[in-house]
Amino acid sequence: MKNTLTTLLIIAVFSVGTIAQEKGSVLIQNATLMTITDGIIENGDVLIVDGIISAIGADLSGPSGVSVVDGTGKYVMPGIIDAHSHLNTVSTNEARNPVTAEVTMEESINPNSVSIYRALAGGVTSIHLMHGSANVIGGQGETLKLRYGVTQDEMRFADAKRTIKFALGENPTRVHGQGNGIQPRTRMGVEQIIRSHFDEALDYRIKREAYFASKEAYEVDRRGRTAPPIPVAKNLRYDVLNDIIDGEILVHCHSYRADEILMLMRVFNDYGIKNYTFQHANEAFKVAPEIAKNGAYTSVFADWWAYKFEVYYSTAYNATILNENGVTNSINSDSNELIRHLNHEAAKTVRYGETSESDALKMITINPAKQLGIDEMVGSLEIGKQGDVAIWSGHPLSIYSKVEHTYVDGKKYFDLYMDPVDMRIAVDSEDSYAEAVFNTFIQGREEDSCMSDVFELIEQ
């Protein structure tokens, strides 16, 4: 309890005068800079002023009053970006319909979750908070900056592209077909759910536009020669589907098998949808040339496989094969455990297939930034980009390296040397540690985190 109070005090002190997206300034000197987009700079300085990287070079000096960090022997890299996370959702799945495009993570963000702090301690500064994978077309995602200690609104990544979750394969067919006896029960059904909903959405748009046109005509012509038009009600779900077709929302599609990846690319080509990412995509390596040809992205686990059948014929060399075939790939966590060491997950691409160290680092920085449409703002150390950086005690791909400081918008949110034990902001009545204490020898895994809150539904 005493610890909690201390933490609250610390947070209160940290947060004095907090306004939306508080910015900070810092000068990091004489460090090894992993710029990501412009190689490695030895003995370099980075200057962040009011949340923006304003200079990179040697012997920089900052405006007076800017705190200076000695980076001698340290490594600076851009903050890690996790393109697939359920880190601090309030709920993850709205699982009662195969299509729930109208649902969004917008209001499903828990800004007080201590898991945010744990991710910061792993050098992560942004996450893609996603809806789960119970539905073929799931809910919309929210890209967040890990500003721990702020409100829901203040966590949002300003000007990030809108995103939505799709899901193929076992999860939607289990939940709906197997669990509720409705389409989709098969991968055939999954395709038709997508096509029929896009078609309905397009028809709706025509009808709705026609209605507005008739309404306007009716309102102009008040002499009663025409009957008032029958209204076509607004449909949020179809509006979102039209936004996808119009390219205003980036699709992140939970998928595993090669055939379903090909299926979605065919469907998207038919509807003119571009700029999408296959999430998990354990068998993406089997169709890497096709993915590259379509300009699609992939975001994969470093080594998860075999926990369910659709990942049985997969390989930890997936990321390397995709990368070598010219696919922009990221390594994600989909896990509140893995998110704490995504640097190490990225390093596995070096072990499995000898991906270059620089490409491995891209997979947790600039590549996920591209997939979320935020690569103009973050993902590399470049002048003009936002000051989201982490200082590491050693090479970020080494297992012995630790994050010493994590900055978001130039403001320090994690400090290894001023790191209190209890970093909760709020005590969650639902948070029972006893739930986590299991007294079982072997754990094992049979699901990705995308199925959170769905088990109860299936078990019934």
Binding site: R118, A121, Y307, I321, H341, S401, N439, F441, I442
Partner: protein, 440 residues
């Protein structure tokens, strides 16, 4: 880019062929008289030898040292200049070989129905052809404890090596440990929500456990008496469960108690001090809150099997607790072995150990926690866990620190067999890196 990658790999394969002579990339293992020269040899028990020589004769290590003259004619010589040799790593907690695809129940053979299953043997269900076995062994993990789970007493874990075609040829110890899931005094899950009820339920479970152990001790005594002098006595009825507990109550088979929280750990320690339990050979597994009571565990002399890659148990625990737990236990004087608790990703054992090393344990002790320590805990240190003359030839050659994901594990030997370095993962890599290439 892709082309050059392909050539790099081909080149790498050619290089292996040159320095291993009859290297087996796919297919059959190399076996017989093998010498590894000019390596940094981490013996574990007898220090580190620079530019060392290690020779294998069949299943055994024949020589470890610096004397090149030990390598006579007839040896397959592997030049390991700049490389490191370690004993094969052992994972002290897995269900490898018992579960193929965890989400597909028909492939899950680690959880029998019932609460008391001391006669269930992981050894029996161990599938030597599991796709996860080659994936694991090419990472330098050569031995695993593979364990059943569920109920109060889940059954018996087996200590297996990862080369072979039958459980019989792969078992180092078919009954390496009895798995007991310690009855929790915590109120949790669907169980009782109030502490009194939880306490009552806990006491009932322990009474039940004590009763089983009493029966097992009685059975053991009765059978011993009969077996010593059967003449004129009626043969006692055989009871499979109690029969399976005989080695346990004698202290031959360790009792692996899975226990996590502070309260439960203290209860389990208290229980272990009961007079009638003094013959038991107790090992704790999990022990996530061991750091809270490390002195008490050390005092009780109970070794611990722990992992590192899990999220902090309590929301108010320090972020690094899971990484630091092995070091906290070790520093209190507890013998620590590291495990993954995984099935298909047992290959991450070196990384679990790497975190322990980075967070207080140090690399030297962390290596022991995946080699000699588990060998000692499971009573096989005469054969496994270090590079010593006469021990089984379980070892691997790595390009650098095996805890570093940037290092490559280049060759693996299990009981003298230089195993093919392929698995489903490497085979898919070879097939799909340049999928549409045609024969040149």
């Amino acid at each position: 880019m892709m082309k050059s990658k392909k050539w790099n790999i081909i080149l790498a394969l050619l290089l292996m062929v040159t320095f291993t002579v009859q290297a087996q990339i796919t297919g059959k293992p190399n076996f017989g008289k093998i010498a590894i020269i000019d390596a940094t040899i981490h013996t574990i028990t007898e220090g580190t030898i620079q530019h060392g020589v290690i020779t294998l004769d069949g299943e055994k290590i024949e020589y470890v040292g610096t004397d090149r003259s030990k390598v006579g004619g007839g040896y397959t010589v592997i030049d390991a200049t700049g490389k490191h040799v370690f004993p094969g790593f052992m994972d002290s907690g897995t269900s490898l070989g018992l579960v193929e695809v965890n989400a597909v129940p028909v492939t899950v053979d680690n959880r029998e129905v019932g609460n008391m299953n001391p006669n269930m043997l992981a050894f029996t269900a161990f599938n030597p052809h599991s796709a996860s076995i080659p994936v694991t062994r090419v990472s330098g993990v050569t031995h695993v404890i593979t364990a059943p789970q569920g109920g109060l007493m889940s059954g018996q874990a087996a200590l297996m090596d990862l080369w072979g075609y039958s459980p019989d040829s792969m078992a180092i110890d078919a009954t390496a440990g009895m798995v007991l899931n310690w009855p929790s005094v915590q109120s949790r899950g669907w169980g009782p929500r109030n502490p009194e009820q939880a306490e009552k339920r806990y006491k009932e479970a322990v009474r039940n456990l004590d009763k089983w152990l009493d029966n097992a001790r009685f059975y053991e005594q009765m059978m011993n008496e009969f077996e010593a002098d059967p003449i004129g006595k009626t043969k006692p009825e055989k009871n499979q469960q109690l029969q399976a507990m005989r080695a346990l109550v004698q202290g031959e088979t360790p009792l692996i108690i899975a226990v996590s929280s502070e309260k439960d750990i203290l209860n389990a320690i208290e229980w272990s001090t009961h007079e009638e339990n003094s013959s038991l050979n107790i090992v704790f597994a999990g022990v996530e809150e061991g750091w809270r009571v490390s002195e008490k565990i050390a005092e009780a002399g109970i070794p611990c099997l722990v992992s590192t890659l899990y999220t902090p148990v309590r929301s108010y625990d320090h972020i690094h607790r899971p990484y630091e737990n092995p070091a906290a236990l070790m520093k209190a004087g507890v013998k620590v072995a590291i495990m993954t608790r995984e099935v298909e990703n047992v290959r991450n054992l070196p990384f679990n150990a790497g975190y322990a090393a980075a967070y207080g344990m140090g690399a030297e002790e962390a290596v022991k926690a995946v080699t000699i320590n588990p060998a000692e805990i499971f009573g096989v240190s005469d054969r496994l866990g270090s590079l010593e003359i006469g021990k089984q030839a379980n070892l691997f050659i790595s390009s650098g620190d095996p805890f570093e994901p940037l290092s490559q594990i280049e060759q693996v030997f299990i009981k003298g067999y230089q195993i093919p370095m392929d698995s489903r993962h490497t085979q898919l890599f070879e097939e799909f890196l340049d999928r549409d290439a045609t024969q040149e």
